[in-house]
């Protein structure tokens, strides 16, 4: 993700109004430069097609996605969980948007899918909570799944399910917010 070769110095001088960019060099290197240069230019040009960024993202994206899912599913026994994994999965879409243009990525993901995913995630979380109440337990009382439905390790799998739903909500919202801010207000031109 932090590939220094992706920060394109060639595209720097065309900043709007000929303003100088006075960021300390050592700080920009610690950030993910793949995400910096193309967007910074969007005031003048919406999208900079850079073969370096595209190639890097094409290689890195599957690994980041897998890492995000790993974090999400292994939250029970090691560091990680729904919030962390969801954010990392959301970052994959952000990376694709920056590398291949936000418009094409938005069409590929389909904005209404995000709304459905987020809605289902929130509804799923609530229904897990209410489901335990319906089965005679307290709110989010996972062991009820074991006594009423015979699920093995009910607490562990209940927590995993909730973590997964949190991951879906967070990933969906991160992606959605990215698209929404990129598109701007209705009637305005979209990036």
């Amino acid at each position: 993700m932090s590939d220094d070769a992706t920060s394109e110095p060639g595209s720097e001088p065309v900043a709007p109004e000929g303003s100088e960019v006075d960021e300390p060099a050592e700080e920009s290197a610690t950030e993910e430069p793949a995400e910096e240069s193309p967007i910074a230019e969007t005031a003048s040009r919406p999208y900079v097609e850079s073969p370096i960024i595209m190639a890097t993202v094409r290689v890195v994206a599957p690994f980041v996605f897998t890492f995000g899912l790993f974090i999400m599913f292994h939250g029970a026994d090691s560091s990680g969980g729904g919030f962390q994994g969801g954010v990392i999965v959301g970052t994959v879409v952000l990376m694709l948007g920056i590398a291949f243009g936000i418009g094409p990525t938005r069409e590929w993901v389909d904005p209404s899918t995000i709304v459905v995913l987020v809605g289902l995630g929130t509804l799923g979380f609530v229904s897990v909570g209410l489901g335990t109440v319906a089965l005679g337990g307290a709110f989010l009382d996972y062991p009820v799944f074991g006594t009423a439905l015979g699920v093995p390790h009910p607490s562990k799998y209940g927590i995993e399910l909730v973590e997964l739903l949190i991951g879906v909500i967070v990933a969906g919202i991160i992606t959605g917010l990215f698209f929404a801010i990129a598109a701007g207000t209705r009637g305005g031109e979209s990036a």
């Binding site: 700080e27 910096e36 939250g75 962390q84 954010v87 909730v162 209705r186």
Partner: protein, 177 residues
């Protein structure tokens, strides 16, 4: 404090200060991204890997991208000056706040001591002792997040959901497009 900690804290404070004083908003955003990365490492040093993971992804990744998108959609005011002009009233308020807070410093428990109220709290020992056989997971943070404080987490998830709805309302849209 070890040399690593000292260097980290110095880096965090320096980048935080750079964020405040840089005139160019782009420079400020990049300094903030570096700051977030630094503070993510601080979380790991303070034995909070879950928080560090989230901060690295959120602070250095997502937030930075959102800020950059915003200045791409709006303006990026810049002038010939590198640093922001000092705002004395604001500086006065900030210094007063720090001064007032610093008077409490002596009353706070030392960081890292085994006798701090948080470490000796009944809640802490209960979670650490019972998480495995009550919730069935080894990561106590996950156990507290999804089981013991599941209702709270539901609230947080709904807040995140509400943020999505809020942005859609602000932009008068029905989908994220």
């Amino acid at each position: 404090m070890s040399t690593l900690e000292f260097a980290l804290v110095a880096f965090v404070l320096a980048t935080g200060l750079a964020t405040a004083v840089l005139r160019d908003v782009l420079g400020s955003i990049i300094a903030f991204a570096a700051y977030s990365l630094g503070i993510a490492v601080v979380w790991v040093v303070l034995q909070a890997p879950d928080v560090g993971l989230t901060e690295a992804a959120v602070g250095a990744g997502v937030t930075t991208v959102l800020f950059l998108l915003t200045i791409a959609k709006t303006v990026r005011p810049s002038g010939e000056r590198t640093l922001e002009r000092l705002d004395l009233p604001a500086l006065g308020v900030a210094v007063a706040l720090v001064a007032v807070l610093a008077t409490t410093l002596g009353a706070l428990p030392p960081v890292g001591g085994a006798e701090t109220p948080v470490a000796t709290s009944e809640v802490t020992s209960y979670y650490l002792e019972n998480a495995y056989h009550e919730a069935g997971v080894e990561n106590v943070v996950t156990a507290v997040l999804a089981a013991y404080r599941g209702f709270d987490t539901l609230g947080e998830a709904v807040v995140v959901y509400a943020a999505g709805v809020g942005v859609l309302v602000v932009f008068q849209r029905e989908v994220f497009a």
